[in-house]
């Protein structure tokens, strides 16, 4: 499995998490992801995801003036988005447990 395939879905969840923390814009999200160690992901990857999440009603956006540079588009979570984040956390926890179980019981045996 390639890195990108594995990242699909996981990035969605991480973005929802970052947006939940505080209303934020694309560049800042990319910076935060990279600080958390997602440096192999090219920054622009977030935009198609944000577009899809907005279409699905998980996030809303508003354009705001910036002190230096062009206007920025700030995203925040909707109630549906909060729910999607909850679902992600449950699925991730399950997946993490399963993968860890395989690692400890099968691979390191």
């Amino acid at each position: 499995m390639s890195h990108t395939q594995m990242m699909k879905g996981i990035l969605d969840g991480c973005l929802l998490g970052i947006i939940k923390g505080k209303e934020t814009y694309g560049y800042e999200m990319a910076e935060r992801l990279s600080n958390y160690g997602f440096s192999a992901v090219s920054e622009g990857t977030i935009y198609p995801i944000l577009m899809r999440m907005q279409r699905e009603g998980l996030v809303t956006s508003v354009r705001k003036e910036s002190t230096a540079g062009p206007k920025r588009k700030y995203y925040s979570l909707t109630i549906k988005g909060e729910q999607a984040l909850e679902d992600f956390l449950i699925r991730w926890k399950q997946l993490e447990e399963n993968v860890n179980a395989v690692i400890t019981q099968e691979i390191k045996k």
Binding site: E43, T45, P48, G69
Partner: protein, 253 residues
Amino acid sequence: MDHFTLSEKSQKFIDDLRIYLFSSGKNDKEINEITEELEAHIYEAEINNKSIEQIIGASPKQYMQSISQEMKTDIHSWMLYIPLIIIGAFSFSVFGDLLQGTLSYSIIIITGTILYSLLFTASVFTAFRYIAKNQLSRIKELLILGSVVVLSLFFIFGIIIADSFYNSPTINFGIIGSIFTGLIFFSFIITFSIWSKTVVLPLFLAAIHLPDLLLRYTSFQEESQLAISITVTYIFIAGYLFYVVRKEKRSSE
């Protein structure tokens, strides 16, 4: 819109993305939204010495496609564009023919013109998509678009030759029908110009037909009339394009 300077490479990417999305039939408003958001991102990234590759990854083509996939195709606008293009294409021959007398068109010419408009539009848009997603240079861009235009001219010649070889039913408009059709096309051009906020269609029509009409009242020989008419047309169109390009440049500065 405020203009913020991006590096040449990034600006070309943004321009190409815009063309790619437009020629993929995406909605104008959504195109502006995503390109402005990316412009803002790249602007901030470049201040922090990041390269465009760090943002869009190794393949601009794949990145453009991933953006395009998340956007709806704007069929509604296309339903409007296609008849506009067909009527626009017809208006050139209608006015020319009206100056010569009453209108009469064979079925081959009518279906040929409709087919030509559809094929021409489809191939220009395919060419634009190809050029944009592969980020080709200006010279390659001109070569590709040039070949589309040349091929389309062959298609027109094909229709004219087919029309002279085969007798297909002909619709004669008569005097009243011709005047009526002329008026319909005239009001279409006025409406189109107001709607699109550009005078390009009436200007090109005038450039093509006016010299011809005016020269008929002179005592020049037919060959020199033709030569003068074509020259005036080209000078007129070149002048207009020069004016548009200068205006674009000034507004982006």
